[in-house]
Symmetry: C2
Subunit: 246 residues, 2 copies
């Protein structure tokens, strides 16, 4: 089973105070870009891998999805999701993404925000996701960008001119990375963009969009600290389809 860092009290407390936890989807700067990759959800059946507090599940329901399944490894997050986003169309279940089971050809959309970089057995998970999608169904997900996860010492440094640089090493050395974020010893799986995309292609997905996310000019104008994210992208957003892309 993947490390369940979200049920660590220190991590959970820190995570609960992030903008994206307090403000919901609009607290995540990459949300507008991720939303733009989603299909029309009216009448759709949706599964969210790593649903957290259920913000996306609620949004999907509000967009007209008729059945929404939110899965998360964290009982703490699910408890809050159930309490705050209790709708008949939304079901929440505890699930380990390393050994997921889903019904065949049941979903129009599989969504996942910043969860798949915790998963070791990505190939197996994406095989199950592919099987669980209806023909023509969509997979839209975000992960931490490989440039962000690669370094042995992730964090801004300065070059000889005093300019901020992101010190990349180990980019092609895939595997676990242990970092201190909100608490000590958070384990993520680093893999290259090529690996993410080729795993999808091998499973029979067609790629429809690949975005190395960075802030828009408007976002930087209202939050100048976001400008650094243009120096190296923090997130990778991918949209794929089961079957032919067109």
């Amino acid at each position: 089973m993947t490390q369940n860092i979200y049920d660590n009290p220190e991590f959970f407390s820190g995570y609960s105070q992030l903008g994206r936890s307090v403000e919901g989807l609009d607290g995540a700067a990459e949300w507008p870009a991720l939303r733009a990759l989603l299909p029309d959800l009216r009448g759709c059946s949706v599964v969210d891998l790593g649903c957290g507090f259920g913000w996306f599940c609620r949004w999907a329901h509000e967009q007209g999805a008729v059945q929404v399944l939110g899965l998360d490894v964290s009982e703490k997050m699910l408890a809050r999701a159930r309490a705050e986003t209790a709708y008949a169309a939304i079901a929440y279940q505890q699930a380990d993404l390393e050994r997921l089971k889903l019904p065949d050809a049941a979903f129009d959309l599989t969504y996942s925000s910043l969860a798949l970089h915790y998963v070791e057995r990505l190939n197996e998970l994406l095989a199950i996701v592919h099987q669980a999608l209806k023909p023509g169904g969509s997979l839209v997900f975000s992960v931490e960008h490989p440039i962000y996860t690669a370094p042995s010492h992730p964090g801004w440094a300065a070059n000889a001119d005093g300019k901020r640089i992101w010190p990349v090493d180990g980019y092609l050395v895939e595997g676990p990375r242990t970092t201190d974020w909100l608490t000590k010893g958070v384990v993520k799986q680093h893999r290259s963009i090529g690996t993410y995309l080729n795993v999808l292609l091998r499973q029979g997905f067609s790629l429809t969009h690949v975005e190395e996310w960075g802030p828009t000019d408007d976002q930087i104008a209202s939050r100048p600290a976001l400008a650094d994210e243009r120096q190296r992208p923090p997130f990778l957003l991918v949209a794929a389809r089961k079957g032919s892309a067109r």
Copy 2:
């Protein structure tokens, strides 16, 4: 017109002494990975964008391609290509990739090795490439990896532990980068992986493989200096198809 750095005497002299110029395709460490992406060439019509000394054109001819068109901006390179790889099935033409003209639905394969990162008008070029491919035809190309081209100061640096790092900045700031390589003032176009892939998808290509190239264990064993390339990939290899991927 793109800067024609290859006809600069200092650049041409330096380039002519590189392993890939002296030894041909086998002098390029990424060639086995790029070759693995190519379709069976027997009976095929092939165009090579940035054919240089004609090594690939000759190889394609040897693999059974019946018509091979080698295009390059450099008259010096074409002169050597014509002299050293003169076969009836191969034609060489001087061409500016910024305003390329190709016949419609004429080729089974468009190949390009380390040329497209010089091109400013990539969208326009790939529209022409798409139109010039037969239905189901392939595009296989390599470019310098965006992690390699992004930095304002490209070159290895050391982190606090004395380990080699590659100092990334400006990754999402696309546009020209001027570097000194073989001669001063070589201009390349930096763009993200996402941009390369989305331009292809918008033109109607299906992606079939995306590889952030690094050396194999065997390559490092015989050339230990290649190990650094695992810290940050030097090349991006892409395979795409006109029409559906399968």
